[in-house]
């Protein structure tokens, strides 16, 4: 026919090439096992291992994971072994250039003592800048993680309740979210940081609240503000997921079996948007670090002598012409931290967010 079907010419005695290799056994029914061997099923993979596999394949995400780990070591572990700390003012070693030694230190070196170099020099008060940058990174990362955890808890619970109960509860709760969404957050943060200072300082003098001074009034107001304003994004996302999830059969089944609202929300709804929660929280970390550095740069974040990358940059800006590295060290560090967390979050999203699965 048109497409020249390979047809056995039954009138020909000489076997055609095709039939040449055929013998009667070929036409015996195949065994069930033989058939099943052919069905190459790709192994079904769980949500986690599937996501992990995809994450591992993503070179950029893996690289950013290593950078994040490195920054964690840099901020939390190296300072433990570093010979200088962030508040120690070394007499005679003021305003040293990177790897420069003061006369006193040179003399000590001559005498055979081992003196650790000031990798990034010292500031005008004789504090080792490297130590301060490491401490600043620690503060920035801590702020990011703590703030994101607060946001995670408030946002997910709020969103889950709103989405789960629906109806007027949802309407009212989401109106509140809409309202907070339109409030210019930075302004409120500035306002709070300015005004919360006094009541917090008062509180710190009372017994049991001394930790406030240790953490710093600025930092605490940052946390308060984040927990007041920044959870709305998380709440919206969780609500959306819960709205979709609660329609599923297993939630109805759980309800029919008499599970309490609390149990359904915690056990069935929140655990099922865990991928989204992880991704959103990871992406919240750099956003929080961003805001903290902004505030510290304006002088509203951490209180001296505690350094933050933002405040280090702010103090260095006056000497930008003579000591540019004092500015660039914290500036580059914070950019790397934010970039790494951003890329990590993006990688996690690509790997775990089922919505983007295809």
């Amino acid at each position: 026919m048109k497409n020249m079907p390979l047809k056995i010419d039954i009138n020909s005695d000489k076997s055609l090439p095709l039939t040449f290799h055929l013998n009667p056994e070929d036409f015996l029914p195949a065994e069930e096992e033989e058939k099943q061997e052919l069905v190459v099923m790709r192994e079904s993979v769980s949500f986690w291992s599937d996501g992990l596999r995809r994450f591992r394949k993503n070179k950029l995400a893996m690289a950013s994971l290593f950078v994040v780990i490195f920054m964690l070591i840099f901020a939390f572990i190296i300072p433990m072994f570093y010979p200088y700390n962030y508040y120690q003012q070394i007499r005679g070693s003021e305003a040293l250039a990177p790897f420069e030694y003061s006369e006193k230190e040179l003399a000590a070196k001559e005498a055979g003592e081992k003196i650790f170099p000031h990798v990034l020099g010292t500031d005008t008060l004789g504090r080792d800048i490297m130590a301060r940058v490491m401490m600043g990174s620690r503060i920035s990362i801590l702020v990011g993680i703590v703030a994101s955890s607060i946001i995670l808890i408030i946002g997910s619970v709020y969103g889950a309740i709103s989405g789960y109960f629906g109806g007027w509860v949802d309407t009212i709760m989401m109106r509140v979210v809409d309202m907070i969404y339109t409030v210019p957050d930075i302004l409120i943060i500035i306002l709070l940081s300015v005004t919360l200072k006094y009541p917090l300082q008062n509180l710190a003098t009372k017994a049991g609240f001394a930790w406030i001074n240790r953490v710093g009034v600025g930092l605490i107001s940052i946390f308060i503000v984040f927990s007041m304003l920044y959870w709305v994004g998380m709440a919206r996302i969780v609500r959306g997921q819960v709205l979709a999830l609660k329609e599923l059969e297993y939630v109805s089944a759980a309800k029919a079996l008499g599970a309490s609202h609390k149990r359904i929300i915690r056990k069935h709804l929140l655990t099922n948007c865990i991928g989204t929660l992880i991704v959103t929280t990871t992406l919240q970390i750099p956003a929080s670090i961003f805001t903290e550095s902004f505030l510290s740069f304006l002088g509203l974040g951490v209180s001296a002598p505690m350094p933050s990358l933002g405040s280090l940059a702010a103090t260095a800006i006056d000497g930008i012409y003579s000591y540019p590295y004092r500015l660039f060290a914290p500036a580059v560090t914070i950019s790397i931290i934010i970039l790494a967390f951003n890329l990590l979050g993006d990688g996690l999203r690509d790997a775990f967010d089922p919505k983007l699965k295809n």
């Binding site: 109106r175 809409d178 309202m179 339109t182 409030v183 210019p184 957050d185 930075i186 302004l187 409120i188 500035i190 306002l191 709070l192 300015v194 005004t195 919360l196 006094y198 009541p199 750099p286 961003f290 550095s293 902004f294 740069f297 304006l298 002088g299 509203l300 933002g310 940059a313 702010a314 800006i317 930008i320 012409y321 540019p324 500015l327 660039f328 500036a331 580059v332 914070i334 950019s335 934010i338 970039l339 951003n342 890329l343």
Partner: protein
């Protein structure tokens, strides 16, 4: 539609009311009310001041007075710049910030949309990777870093551009770049992902099946759909530009509202802080309402609901 606008405006008014109430009560947390300064005033002067500003009245009365004044658009008097009204300060300072901000927004949107579309169309190619790289870095670098790097390289090292003030056109270049950098990167990322999403839509297949050329399909069918989410970003963009100007104006010593806001914070000029906050909040919230309404107008899907 009309119902939506009314609802949206009502929500904005409530928000403004809550923000100003919040601001008012926050000020009570400051000891001595808004008149605390470094050199503590004598009890007599304090009393006189309190009487002058009605601070001896009960809280409810004070709140009522404050809200009534706000309704009239009166934001009070500055503490540090004796006798100068906050309204007056905003009126002289804001136009400066607005000019820089407007140029920055314009650049951020046009460049961002263009770069994002180019990246999406060249998905997986070198150009895409370059744009992704720079825009990813762009959203990871805080504003003060951009400012200081620009200032150090263009201003101090190469001596190409002036580093402070705002007296000529060339003075605008660095502040505008610094201000536009983050939103530009953000928009190009947003635009890229929206564009990719749209390019995979069935109606793009229809457009191709009709025999439209790649470019025509792109400009007519893809761009209009992909740009909608960018419209929603305009609200946050304005907020970012205004607050971003705090840092830009501080670093480049520009006599705008941001600069005055920052000095009011360091100088603890509470009425000015409050006044500026409420003014900016008003601006941002109003803009958000306008952007939301525009969005509903350009997206026909929402017209009827």
């Amino acid at each position: 539609m009309a119902q939506y606008i009314v609802k949206r405006i009502a929500l904005a008014i409530i928000t403004l009311f809550v923000v100003s109430t919040f601001t008012f009560f926050l000020m009570f947390l400051v000891p001595g009310g808004p008149f605390l300064s470094e050199k503590a005033p004598s009890p007599a002067t304090l009393k006189a001041l309190e009487e002058k500003y009605g601070l001896n009245l009960p809280v409810t009365q004070q709140y009522k007075n404050y809200m009534l004044r706000l309704l009239k658009g009166d934001l009070g008097t500055s503490l540090k710049q004796r006798g100068r009204e906050v309204n007056n300060i905003i009126a002289t300072r804001f136009p400066v910030s607005a000019k820089i901000g407007a140029v920055a927004i314009l650049i951020a949107v046009t460049v961002g949309v263009t770069l994002g579309s180019i990246a999406a169309l060249n998905r997986g190619k070198l150009l895409d990777s370059i744009i992704i790289f720079f825009s990813t870095c762009g959203i990871a670098v805080p504003g003060f870093v951009v400012c200081t790097v620009l200032m150090y390289i263009l201003g101090l090292k190469l001596n190409l551009l002036p580093t402070f003030g705002l007296t000529s056109g060339r003075h605008y270049i660095m502040p505008v770049i610094a201000l536009a950098f983050y939103p530009m990167s953000y928009i190009s990322r947003l635009m890229r992902s929206c564009m990719l999403d749209v390019l995979n839509q069935d109606y793009m297949r229809t457009a191709k099946a009709k025999g439209l050329s790649q470019w025509k399909a792109l400009f007519k069918h893809a761009l209009r759909n992909a740009i909608l989410p960018v419209v929603t970003y305009l609200g946050p963009l304005l907020a970012y530009t205004l607050t971003g100007s705090f840092i830009v104006e501080k670093i480049f010593t520009i006599p705008g509202l941001g600069d005055s806001f920052i000095s009011s914070i360091t100088g603890r000029d509470y009425p000015l802080i409050m006044g500026t906050t409420i003014f900016l909040a008003f601006l941002i919230i109003t803009m958000n309402v306008i952007v939301d309404i525009i969005y509903k107008l350009v997206d026909p899907r929402i017209k009827l609901s």
